[in-house]
Chain length 475, copies 2
């Protein structure tokens, strides 16, 4: 549109573009005449002419005493979504872990999908109604006052609650040893930044949660894969060998319920891990996000519980048992506390106070332990149910890592079947899953899938059966 | 404590340590006998003996039908705070920018201080009561449902609102071009990560907001200082020279109301800046956090408004006009959108939904523009009032950059007075301020201070007068 086009036409065109982009949604108001004129330094009559043009074209409409509204969102020719979109590329070599992660995020928000992909908790197993009551209560009390502007380490109320729980499982961590974060992901990001420099090597479990791989990549760190066993987690023998032969600057481990394995490192092995790394001065970043979701009688211990030198940075969050959308987690970073606090300050000043105070009040007011007992049982049953169904419905030769806690199931498909092909077929049937290649920086595990047992129910049983048939067809 | 110590004594000692650390605060409950026994795998009688020991020592007390509570928090000899703590080091060479930033954070949370330090808004100029009503309303509606778990780019409701406002000031940015962040700091952090690699050089204004320096340091980036003028901001001549002679990978600028200068780059200079950088393919990270707080008749424009190639990454937040504690900002990253979205996903999965939905509802429901008009006027008056008072109360030779928007005042002290010495004296009188060395990576501006005019009122007038006398004494 060149400069000889009249001003009102240019402004009308600009507004139409914004309506097309969704800035002004169908049925919503567009700025009042006077507002547009003032903001853009246009005359009122120019704006009026522009609005009339769009009105004539049926894009906006005037409503008496109220203003102009979007009547119909125009569609540009060629911009309509295709009726039958092409299936995503089936060649995993062409799909990166981050592209695949974004895809799982999209799948997760599609209500038509059987949610076997992203490891989101079962919405019915979150204390949402209770949280909403607490939120309303805190808002009424004016508790979210402006003077609760953030500190880099977060709100004291929540740090006290986290410390009390840590005491319960034998970790000597006080409120002042804790930094509240935007979920466990930020906790991990801060830890890796605190203990490594770009180019450094970090030992990780293999397979490992893909989120950790995304963080390593974003921080320009190299991953060294240490084999992990579906029962007992990271192999300490292999780790010992790696420490002898590689310049390992940090170790990342989910000692309780590795995602995707569902493994649990025995408590004495955890103590041994802490001791090996302390003696070498290599920090351990221990991710305990699934730690509360144990299927056994008692909570398993942590490497952090035998950390005498502050060498273990313990990370966790409330995303699995309270709310994923709150994005609230924490880190007890041992001797790296000062560095973590400064990195947190640099990155975002601090964590939002609303979710922090809401969770703190929830933990203070009791009922959390009861809630945990309930969901532990539910996830144990879901996991068992899904494992049994896979055994029954998947082709012969399928192998399953039976989880000891958490709610993800790691499955090896028979005959070297490429799980990315299975994903591509599955999405056509509105079923999502996490293909195995995402769990290794070197593309191992192409014949594995991770399934989210939190989505297991009578309703999704048929989806799993269908997935089993698709696997059989491809095998 | 060795292993010959009886088990109950060891457990009592552990619990006492945790009470000392604040995990169990004075007046609060300690875990019930049965709870401790179960969690720690101890017998009920061992736990009872431990509790009785602490009870005898007057540290906890039993309340009938209720459990055990902390009666008095024990104090370790030698751990009492000193009656007259030593003043902080007065040698700025020994104080790093991040140490000084943490100190300003602490000062900010001390209600006894005259808050001329951190650039926090005036609590009375935030719509807190209104936000609390909206929060309660959303909670009652069950709007914070679990299915609103995060997307890396944030909630659509808020992105639509941001896009509508951007349209108002002439930026062609749709909801899908925006990523919601944990404040403007995270927006800046993501941008710098997206466009730079460790070791790269970034051109910044001099002086510049110290938060930007903290981010650069945390990302292993080098800063190149481009002189900025109190009236018109970054010198384009100097920038042109720098681009010719240095491997500049990105430029960071607060084109509207640089912190600490309060300068405003003329709108045509902004367009020129965008064009120079586009032609060289060097991305511009434009920080507009103070953009709405203009003292003139109309909102000034942005370099982003003349960005045709997606080379400008525009960052802002609601921390100055809605709530600092909400930690909610945004970035419109142009052609770096995909990279920013992936970095955000890696770092924290997404931003907390509570503050996002609350702010979106506030913006939707009207009244924000009225609020902005009110606070613009108030901050203009506060700034003017403080400038006049400095002129009157500070020693001769003091020079002031009169701000054109925002609410910080940049002051040059006479006679080369070291502002870190002034800070050290001021805190003794419960007055905080930001010493000038924080605003330069090379320690320039040691004889400058930045004052927060948001804290200016009749009540703090005497504090400013006192600060002026302290400066005169040191000069």
């Amino acid at each position: 549109m060149d400069t000889r086009t009249p001003l009102y036409e240019r402004f009308a065109h600009e507004l139409e573009e914004r309506i097309l982009a969704g800035t002004f949604p169908e049925g919503g108001r567009v700025p009042a005449l006077r507002e547009s004129a003032e903001q853009r330094g246009l005359s009122l009559s120019t704006v009026l002419q522009a609005y009339r043009l769009l009105e004539t074209r049926g894009i906006i409409e005037a409503r008496p005493q109220s203003g102009y509204y979007v009547k119909i969102r125009p569609r540009k020719v060629g911009l309509e979504p295709e009726a039958n979109p092409a299936p995503p590329s089936e060649d995993p070599k062409k799909v990166s872990i981050d592209d695949m992660s974004i895809r799982l995020f999209r799948d997760k928000h599609d209500p038509d999908f059987a949610q076997f992909g992203a490891a989101t908790p079962d919405p019915d197993l979150l204390p949402t109604a209770r949280l909403n009551r607490i939120l309303a209560e805190l808002a009424r009390e004016g508790r979210f006052a402006v003077d609760t502007s953030t500190m880099p380490e977060g709100c004291e109320e929540l740090r006290v609650q986290v410390a009390q729980r840590a005491f319960g499982y034998g970790c000597e961590v006080g409120p002042d040893d804790i930094v509240i974060t935007a979920g466990c992901s930020e906790a991990m990001s801060l830890c890796l930044q605190a203990v490594c420099s770009p180019g450094d090597t970090v030992a990780i479990e293999s397979p490992t949660y893909f989120g950790i791989l995304l963080i390593l990549e974003s921080l320009h760190l190299k991953a060294l894969e240490i084999p992990a066993n579906p029962g007992t987690g990271m192999s300490l023998d292999a780790l010992g060998f790696a420490l002898e032969n590689h310049p390992v600057k940090a170790v990342v481990a989910m000692t309780n319920f590795n995602n995707p394995l569902g493994s649990r490192m025995p408590d004495d092995a955890k103590a041994q891990l802490a001791s090996i790394l302390a003696s070498r001065g290599v920090p351990l970043i221990e991710n305990d996000i699934y730690g509360e979701l144990y299927f056994s009688e008692r909570r398993p211990s942590l490497a952090k519980a035998s950390d005498a030198t502050g060498n273990v940075l313990l990370c966790s969050s409330f995303s699995k048992d309270i709310s994923p959308g709150y994005r609230t987690g924490w880190v007890a970073p041992g001797r790296y506390l000062d560095r973590i606090r400064k990195l947190k300050m640099a990155y975002s000043n601090g964590t939002s106070v609303l979710p922090q105070l809401t969770i703190a009040r929830y933990l203070e007011s009791g009922g959390y332990d009861l809630h945990l007992r309930k969901i532990r049982k539910a996830y144990a049953q879901k996991s068992l149910g899904m494992v049994r169904a896979i055994e029954e419905r998947f082709p012969e030769g399928t192998r399953i890592a039976e989880p000891l806690g958490g709610y993800v199931i790691w499955v090896k498909l028979p005959g070297g079947l490429d799980s990315m092909s299975l994903y591509s077929e599955a999405v056509k049937s509105r079923i999502t899953l996490a293909p195995g290649f995402m769990f290794s920086p070197t593309g191992k595990f192409r014949d594995y899938i991770r399934l989210n047992a939190a989505a297991w129910s009578e309703r999704t049983e048929k989806d799993l059966a269908r997935l089993g048939r698709l696997a059989a067809d491809l095998a």
